[in-house]
């Protein structure tokens, strides 16, 4: 099942299958090792459209929802 990072539940893990958006955006994400094939765990989501917190390997990252909506994940549900 394919979902965006926003739809991932807290504590759930998904694999990145696609990054939407332009080249600059992809470069920005990949600089923090956010790229196709990596596993992502969602740690928290801040209320009222606040940012999300995710974990890749040992790195925790705060990311805005606009950016998160462009990260497409595959999850087992």
């Amino acid at each position: 099942m394919l979902i965006t990072l926003i739809e991932l539940e807290n504590g759930e893990v998904g694999e990145i299958v696609k990054l939407e958006g332009g080249l600059q955006f992809k470069k920005k994400l990949s600089s923090l090792n956010i790229r196709v094939g990596k596993e992502v765990k969602k740690i928290a989501s801040q209320p009222f459209n606040g940012p999300l917190v995710m974990k890749i390997d040992n790195t925790k990252i705060t990311i805005g929802r606009g950016m998160a909506s462009k990260i497409i994940l595959k999850v087992e549900r």
């Binding site: 470069k27 600089s31 928290a44 209320p47 040992n58 990252i61 705060t62 929802r65």
Partner: protein
């Protein structure tokens, strides 16, 4: 002279290694972006003296942000690059390493935070990594100094190794490398990690944030008061007979007025005499320093533990409403100590627009610790309520000004995208060093400016200028703000030093209402001269004029409004 560059991702400990190499005192904290400007120092390689440069952290050399472009430019000038890696995040950090390898500069790799790999069950085969990368690889712990000697001796073996790989295959190569050199065994969840998640989930994180802020506040007041009552009060009572007999030996006259000041009921009054050797020492040392010390001690613990990026995440939504990132709470907190380092650290905000909003809000509504301490002692006798009114007003102005600027200034605030470091136990040594640097900076700034302020105001009194300015400004000060004409002296000193300016309100016998209004006005109308210089440098003349106009308008509006509604 040969140049050695320290290059690496943000928050991997470049600055702590820099400090170890050069002996230069630098600020080290546990959040990305502590180092906002290049730092230079010197060290010896054998007999040769070399220059060491601490380059602000960057994730990539494929420049997309301004900071990354600057870092990429810098690397061309280096003779040797020390690439500092966070060894608990090998894969992500190797991305920059692989880009550096392509640049063909002689290079050494430092695997920093080596101690943390041990408790995290990460095993890295250093020799194999060295062979694969073709450059020396040294495990280090910047905070404790482990591995630094070895790092220095390896510099002579630094070499350019043109690592051949196809740009598109970089991540594949990195993953291959990581798979070959790194083994992870299962790790135990520590209390820290459990607390990490709790403190960033809103349901538990927000109460934790409130508790931490209240604790911070209470600790600062407790430590500050403790030091004043048990140390400085006693010290200045011992000093009294000395300074009194010195004053008597001077007789009267101008010199006496400058050094000792006015006698109140035939006695020196430390808070009201306004002499260089009486009030000029008492205000910065006995009234302000203890709180500055306490504040920076607590702030240091917050910084080094890694809590601040979490607070930034929790408050991101709110801060976006006023045109900034959550990370803007870092300059705001620093500004509560002193606006100068606060203003400098607004550089971690990536756009000019954010910086303008942050600096203007800071200049208008953020009192520094010196001023806060003085407002406390000024309003303390009238109860906590009146103090809360002052800070409440400032908070309301802070938020509404932010909302206003965010809607009026064209442009958008980009979304937050930042790394959150793990919690770390602060190293006692670096905590104390940082505290000492900040206290030293306070002294170097406070004492000369307080002296300058006192000297200046005495000259203005003697020459009669103060009376003249008081007359001219009286329509605003008396009619609009409801303050006595004499307040003008305090407003003038406020340009030089805010804590001293608040102190000068003491002898005026103001009503509570007047004290509240003048405390608010003194915070808002203009930054002190030291802050002004930094603002001018960061904003440029045009934006500084804009910012100043906003300050004056808001001050008159808020001051007049308070005079109208307060009883």
């Amino acid at each position: 002279m040969k140049k050695i560059l320290l290059v690496g991702n943000p928050n991997v400990g470049k600055t702590s290694i820099f400090s170890r190499l050069t002996g230069v005192d630098v600020m080290i904290s546990n959040y990305p972006g502590t180092t906002v400007e290049f730092k230079e120092g010197k060290t010896k390689l054998g007999e040769e003296v070399v220059e060491v440069m601490d380059v602000p952290g960057t994730y990539t050399l494929e420049a997309s942000s301004k900071a990354e472009k600057v870092a990429a430019e810098m690397i061309k000038e280096g003779d040797i690059v020390i690439n500092v890696l966070d060894s608990t995040n090998l894969e992500r950090n190797l991305n920059l390493t692989f880009q550096l390898l392509k640049k063909n500069v002689p290079m050494v790799v430092a695997l920093n935070f080596w101690d943390e790999t041990r408790h995290q069950g990460i095993k890295i085969d250093v020799e194999k990594l060295e062979k694969l990368l073709g450059v020396p690889v040294i495990p280090t712990v910047g905070a404790s100094g482990e591995g630094i000697k070895k790092l220095v001796s390896s510099l002579s073996k630094a070499k350019a190794h043109s690592y051949k790989y196809n740009q598109k295959e970089r991540w594949n190569k990195i993953c291959e490398t990581v798979n070959e050199v790194q083994k992870t065994t299962g790790k135990d969840h520590t209390f820290f990690e459990y607390f990490e998640d709790l403190s960033i989930r809103p349901l538990t994180g927000i109460p934790i944030a409130i508790i931490i802020m209240l604790l911070t506040f209470a600790t600062v007041i407790f430590i500050g008061e403790f030091i004043i009552n048990n140390f400085f009060e006693i010290l200045f009572e011992l000093y009294r007979p000395l300074i009194t007999s010195f004053g008597n030996s001077l007789g009267g006259g101008f010199i006496h007025d400058i050094l000792i000041g006015k006698l109140i009921n035939g006695q020196i009054d430390y808070t009201q005499s306004l002499g260089l050797l009486t009030t000029g020492l008492y205000v910065p040392i006995a009234m302000v320093l203890p709180y500055v010390f306490a504040f920076y001690l607590v702030l240091g613990v917050l910084e080094d533990s890694g809590y601040l990026p979490r607070l930034a995440t929790l408050s991101d939504n709110l801060m976006h409403k006023i045109g900034m990132h959550g990370l803007a709470i870092v300059p705001m907190l620093l500004g509560l100590g002193c606006n100068v380092p606060g203003a400098l650290s607004t550089r971690i905000l990536e756009t000019k627009r954010q910086q303008f909003i942050a600096l203007t809000l800071m200049a208008i509504t953020l009192p520094c610790m010196g001023q806060i301490a003085m407002i406390f002692s000024l309003l303390g006798p009238y109860g906590l309520g009146s103090i809360l009114i002052v800070f409440g007003i400032l908070l309301v102005v802070w938020f509404s000004m932010g909302l206003l600027m965010n809607s009026l200034i064209p442009g958008l605030t980009p979304e937050t995208f930042m790394e959150i470091p793990p919690y770390r136990l602060p190293y006692f040594r670096s905590l104390i060093k940082k505290l000492w640097m900040r206290i030293k900076a306070f002294f170097l700034e406070a004492i000369p400016f307080v002296f300058l302020g006192i000297l200046f105001i005495n000259i203005l009194y003697v020459s009669g200028i103060i009376g003249f300015v008081g007359e001219i400004a009286s329509p605003i000060i008396v009619n609009l703000l409801g303050l006595p004409k004499e307040t003008v002296a305090s407003l003038i000193v406020g340009f030089i030093r805010k804590d001293m300016a608040v102190g000068m309100l003491l002898p005026l016998n103001l009503t509570v209402k007047q004290l509240i209004i003048s405390s608010v006005i003194l915070t808002m109308y203009f930054p002190c001269i030291a802050t002004f210089v930094v603002l001018l440098k960061e904003l440029g003349i045009k934006d500084m004029i804009k910012s100043t106009l906003i300050m004056l308008l808001v001050t008159l509006f808020v001051g007049g409004f308070l005079n109208f509604i307060l009883k």
